[in-house]
């Protein structure tokens, strides 16, 4: 027992002993749940470690996750702190990746930029998935007129080049964290909807779906309980891939000046602001570009490796 909990014990007034142990059945259920979870995690680890591609990808991704989580501990300067006496510095002992045109520490901006991209990326993909599933699931399940209508609308949306679509949305609503997430979600939803629809059209013909109908289950229950969980394999891989794209698009939006409003540390913005001074100082652009590349490639390699390895012995 550590001292802290020991002190807590003293500090807390004595309470009558309560039956803390759950009922045996619940305990069994909980234990089984964790055992099942642990087994799944072990299987996943086995799959990942069996694929060198996935391992390399995971290391690259984990590096940036680590940087994002521990950003305050591994940087000495604030990402917003400007130093007019030291602008466009090359790497030195004080600034390991140098400083940018406003004298901000490039490494700090990179580290905090990782935070931005690693929160906004997954968030936007998550929203995109919610949208895509909400559209694709009924489309594939009912078919017919519902399917035609939804798909034609999505076709129209997909006809726009992605970047153009983002530009239209951002110009209309203005650049902000929230709007970037929404723009990327709208841009990604049609593709996800199509994937979900295709999977649903296959799964709805399975006999367990018929069995659920013979149970009198509602269409909504069947879609959510019977069909959606069985789409998860391809969806998880797609999710990983899309986080990579989202990181890339956030970068692109940043570069076009439509991304996150300055002075937010943002990799795309760093490239955009730095490229005017590239002749004088290549470091902000180079390091931000490399950061985007390593994260996107890492996510892609990880997703690819997992997909290949999990399908290998089927």
């Amino acid at each position: 027992m550590s001292t802290a909990s020991f002190q807590e014990d003293i500090a807390r007034p004595k309470q009558p002993p309560q039956p803390v142990a759950p009922l045996p059945e619940q305990l069994g259920a909980a234990r089984r749940f964790f055992a099942g979870l642990w087994k799944r995690v072990r299987d996943l680890i086995e799959i990942i470690t069996a694929s060198p591609t996935a391992v390399v990808g995971l290391i690259m991704v984990l590096f940036w996750v680590f940087v994002a989580v521990f950003a305050p501990l591994i940087t000495t300067y604030s990402p917003l702190e400007q130093d007019y006496k030291a602008i466009n510095q090359p790497p030195s002992a004080a600034h390991i990746l140098g400083t940018d045109q406003l004298g901000r520490d490039v490494w700090s901006r990179l580290a905090y930029g990782a935070r931005t991209i690693l929160t906004l990326g997954p968030a936007s993909v998550l929203v995109a998935f919610l949208l895509g599933i909400a559209l694709g699931l009924p489309s594939g399940y009912y078919g017919g007129a519902i399917d035609e209508t939804v798909m034609r609308i999505l076709d129209a949306l997909m006809a726009f080049p992605t970047i153009l679509l983002y530009m239209i949305i951002i110009s209309a609503v203005g650049p902000s964290h929230f709007n970037v997430v929404i723009a990327i979600a709208i841009g990604g939803a049609p593709g996800i909807a199509r994937l979900v629809r295709a999977l649903t059209m296959d799964i709805r013909t399975r006999e367990y779906v018929a069995a659920a109908k013979l149970r009198g289950d509602s269409d909504f229950t069947i879609m959510v309980r019977e069909i959606l969980p069985n789409c998860r394999g391809p969806l998880i891989v797609d999710f990983l891939m899309r986080i990579g794209y989202a990181a890339f698009y956030i970068g692109t939006l940043g570069f076009l000046g439509l991304g996150l409003p300055p002075p937010t540390p943002d990799w795309g913005g760093m490239v955009q602001q730095g490229h005017n001074h590239m002749m004088a100082n290549v470091w902000p652009v180079l390091s931000a570009t490399l950061a985007i590349i390593t994260l996107v490639i890492g996510l892609n390699m990880f997703a690819d490796g997992v997909r290949e390895e999990s399908m290998r012995y089927q």
Binding site: A211, K213, G216
Partner: protein, 685 residues
Amino acid sequence: MEQTPVLKVDGLAVAYKTRKRDIHAVRDVSFEIYSGENLGLVGESGCGKSTVAYSIVNFLGPNGRIVRGNILFKGEPLHNRSEKELRRLRGADISMVYQEPMSALNPSMRIQDQLAESLITHRGMPRSEAYGKSLQALKDVYMPDAEAVMLRYPHQLSGGQQQRVVIAMALLNNPSLLIMDEPTTALDVTVEAAVLDLIAELKERYQTATLYISHNLGVVARVSDKVGVMYAGEIVELASTRSIYQSPLHPYTMGLMRCLPDVDAPKGTRQLLPIEGRVPSPANLPSGCIFAPRCPHVIAECSAQRPKLIELTTGHHVRCIRAGEWIGKDMVWLDQGVSTEPCPDRDEASPEKTLVVQNARVYYPVPFKTVAGLFGLEKRQYVRAADDISLQVKRGRTLGIVGESGCGKSTLAKAIVGLEPLYDGKIEFLNMDISSPLNKRKLNVIRELQMVFQDPNGTLNPSYCVGDQIAASLRRFHTVPPDQVQGEVEQLLRSVKLDESYYYRLPRQLSGGEKQRVGIARAIASNPAMVICDEPVSALDVSVQAAVLNLLLEIQKTHNTTMILISHDLSSVRFFSDDVAVMYLGRVVEIGPCEAIYMPPNHPYTAALLAAVPRPDPDLEPSRVRLTGRVPSAVNPPSGCRFHTRCPFYMGDICKEQEPPERDFGGGHKIYCHLSQEELEQIKP
């Protein structure tokens, strides 16, 4: 006569590499095939039959390899050859026919180009000669209208025709060795019978050595001279076909034979004896005899060491230490200990009708192909999957529905449970009108009418554990109070012979037979008055089929459940049903008590179906009543009697123009045919 075998497999062992370890799928397999000989390999799925075939042509895939042993083709080793040499050999001297004819044919090439291709590439034959030879090959396999077929694409042919094309292709180069991997499994019985005739005849004519792989003992008895019985990667018995069928010496072979339902035995006269347990995974084999854990005759010595394959009598090899005790005892010995308790007298069952189907029609609209159609300017076309069907099922009895694939039997079942809407007609269930589709039915009607599905891999949701899927039904129908659900699920699992530990298993951890049992448990969870079984055992191994059929029978006995059994297998229908309806192209052609259906008089179609059933007795002279042609399209079914295009008793215009009249033979036995009662009595299957 001393002669080199065309194929000699000696001590073959094959392993597959997986993420965790090597799986030794085949061990110590040896056999020889001489010219003009057909060796059948039988066994349950997962016994390594196909692996043996693939190792001969070196198609083991990236993770398979031959660990030990020799494969000699005409005395020369086949393995360790270069890819180039193998390709030449495979094209010219060894041919293979696979289970799925459709996947063996290139869908974008005409039949003539596919056939001629191998002649042109392997033999360098001029094109015109190659086409001529291809046409001859099609004629050799009795392809009707061969000239026209040459110009067609694979999708324009029926399954039987496709398989004929594949066989013709395999025979084009006069191969010395022909490997057939379940060539008739995907085909209907009537087509299968014709293809088996063809295989038997071609062997005589070309003296090709054939390795024939099948899980069906009846089929192997029909075509093979020698049979090797495989179990868990080893050959456990190898002998001439007659000797295997008359005096099987390995308990596994005996087990395989007595779990087969017999098309010639009526309901209640025979009990099927399933082989308990399942094929052990090659990863953890028992230390002694591999069959010992499932063997009913196991003794202590069995687990001491792995028995060797020894020649017990001339040409009869067995891998069993007790086999010697059984020489000379005939098959009667096998039935020892079998309960011959007859089924309860079915006539006593109350005559109350649980289900009455009146003039039911299920039509599927054909999608419009033209713009005019899209705007309603064209007459809508329909696939008449079930057309004017009337039948009834009495309480506590089983109605069997048989017919070839595409005859509408599954569609009818789906319409009854409400998964497909009725186009016209009426269905009455427990004196209630249930002609409406499922979403309009009341929950208490739905719970009384449940279904067991065909595909063991599709019947359970892979995302949930077994118990939860059964519990879902219980919760939905409030069969038991919520706090008793768990106990009730365990009770249901026990009633389908699975213990409670299965509650938390995921479907992928179950074998096919176990999944099917869970499907049955789910269907009976709401304690329904009627269960419809749509081909419940067709996808299962014979040994498992028996257990599932026994289980269904037991459930019927205990709960007095009314059942419909849909199957293409006439043997299991006879084993299980009280009444039978025979369907052809959306119509019922014959209906009546089970015994009447399996005896003359018969509808010509029923007679052909009965004749086509492969019987596991090599001495039985195969019947020659065969159907020709393919099942016509259900969009434009033939006029008059729908069967007239294929009927061997076709009488001309009357069949073509008039609906067949009902011929009543009493006792509910009705045949719909233009032949007179006397003529119908003459038809022998």
